[in-house]
Amino acid sequence: MLPFENLEKELKKARSGDPDAREKLLEDLRQFVLQTASHLCRRRLEWGRDDELSIAYLAVNEAIDRYREEQQVPFLAYARLLVKSRLTDYLRREARVPLLLDSEETAAALDASRAWEEHWVREAALEREEEIKEFNSLLNSYGISFADLVKYSPKHADTRRVLLSVAGYLSARRDLMSSLVRTKKLPVRELAELTGVNPKTLERGRKYIIAVALIWHHCADFLYLCSYLRPGAGEEEKK
């Protein structure tokens, strides 16, 4: 859903001063902005109507400049956090109902880079935890536990690669995903046909495939997990 590789490239270009790249990037991120802001405000927002979106948009733009890659936080997560802060401030100023997270920070404090760093590092950690918790419950709804995943994680790099590619394929296919969501079961036969992978392999790696496919399908919701496990992650064996 969110092409991370492209994102990073674009981000780099935009940061290096390419105005066109920035335009393009912001264009690509519009959807993201909308989703995030809506989620934070807990209501459907509309471009042009709601100020919140503008604020969010500006925040993302700011994020492009302020993002530092070393922090192990994916850009989108960082952007999201920044959007959250900005929106919180805005809404507080507007005296609306407090949002999801009652951030203590004020705009002024935010600009002090050190405080901000500590702040969003903590925020990020909290968000990660939240995300994992959510993921856990999602998995449970499919009858999968983390212990299961340990057991069924392919140890062998080759198998892992195969299963990951299957998961990638699956997560990109709306129809298959909806079938999965509906039945809570993997459409093994179809997948076998479509990917050419042996059904037995698919069966054995069932839980693993489902878990990874879920991560990638709901990438925005599981930002941290998703960026950690890049599509094509099986190739990354460098340590």
Binding site: S153, A157, R230
Partner: protein
């Protein structure tokens, strides 16, 4: 233990589950510091405590099992030592040079084994025991001509080292000396295949060897005088040097086991091919010797000039070969020879010399 990096997704009591960048979910030991889900940690792969007791148990099993496999414990016969006196016995030796099986290959052999327990004894002791028993049972005659043929067969090449023919012959000789018995001792090596064939033929390896070599060698009438293969000549001959040599008596002197004695042995050792034989070789079987002591084969005549001979003063060099050679001890040993004859006569009737 290698390091592994991953994001914590679940915390358990002693372990935590992490997701690696390469997409693997692993359970690792929980780091000592406080960690929360979402943090990326570098952990040691001693995954969890769950496999330690398993590993311990597995090690125990392996050790036990390895103990069984350890050849030192095994009681498989890796070599066979056959002793042909007149009873024939065969001892199976395990890797620790102990007797793990003992079988009598003829009636006397079996009877002898009834009397001595050899299992578990080291080879030396077993040989001693057998010989001692043989002496006491009069299989080995203190004053007479005795021949002990020993054949060694290794089952597996790698266990060849445990059999030392020198050692065996020394052991035999030692026992003989202690018992005051003289005998021809030869220690031969026989390949496993030969032994197998011997078994099939119902013979001891030694006797079978003898029979094998018979047509060629002719003039190897008795166990103990089997000549070795050329390369073994020297070795066997050396052994003989340590032994008291048998008297040689001419035909008719009543050597129970047959006239060809040491000199034939020597000659025999010179090469696999025998020279022209004056008489067809007759095995010293019961059938052949039914007529008693008179059925003695003439001394063996060899074409081969002897190159080496044990220092033996009884032969004068010129008279070594040839029917008119002075038989050793003709003059001075007659009494003994007669005694032997007498004894042999007794023994002949008991078919002891049946080979």
């Amino acid at each position: 233990m290698k390091q592994i990096t991953g994001m914590v997704v679940e915390l358990k009591e002693k372990t935590c589950v992490i997701l690696t960048r390469s997409g693997e979910f692993r359970e690792v030991r929980r780091p000592s510091r406080e960690v929360r889900p979402g943090e990326e940690i570098v952990a040691k792969t001693a995954a969890a405590v769950w496999w330690k007791p398993l590993l311990a148990a597995a090690s125990v099993f392996i050790l036990l099992w390895a103990g069984f496999l350890y050849s030192g414990w095994s009681n498989e016969a890796v070599a066979y030592v056959g002793l042909d006196i007149n009873p024939s016995v065969e001892l199976g030796i395990n890797r620790r040079q102990q007797v793990c099986q003992a079988s009598g290959l003829d009636a006397e052999g079996r009877a002898l084994l009834q009397k001595v327990t050899l299992r578990g004894l080291p080879l030396d002791e077993a040989i001693t025991a057998v010989l001692t028993e043989a002496v006491s049972e009069q299989y080995l005659n203190p004053a007479g001509e005795n021949v002990i043929l020993t054949t060694v067969t290794v089952v597996k090449e790698q266990s060849r080292a445990i059999l030392d023919r020198e050692q065996i012959s020394r052991c035999i000789q030692g026992t003989l000396n202690r018992s005051g018995v003289r005998a021809e001792v030869a220690v031969e090596e026989a390949p496993a295949e030969v032994r197998r064939q011997a078994r099939e033929a119902g013979l001891s390896t030694g006797k079978y060897l003898q029979r094998l070599r018979g047509p060629e060698k002719r003039g190897l009438p008795v166990p103990g005088s089997i000549a070795g293969l050329p390369q073994k000549n020297a070795a066997v001959r050396e052994e003989k040097e340590h032994f008291k040599t048998r008297e040689l008596t001419g035909p008719g002197k009543g050597i129970p086991k047959g006239a060809p004695g040491k000199e034939e042995k020597e000659a025999g050792k010179k090469g696999p091919e025998r020279g022209a034989q004056k008489e067809p070789f007759k095995e010293n079987t019961r059938e052949n010797t039914q007529n008693g002591l008179d059925e003695i084969r003439p001394p063996f005549q060899s074409r081969f000039p002897e190159k080496k001979r044990p220092p033996d003063e009884r032969y004068s060099p010129n008279e070594r070969y040839g029917s008119d050679r002075k038989q050793n001890g003709d003059n001075d040993r007659t009494d003994q020879a007669d005694q032997v004859k007498v004894k042999a006569g007794k023994k002949m009737s008991t078919a002891k010399w049946a080979i």
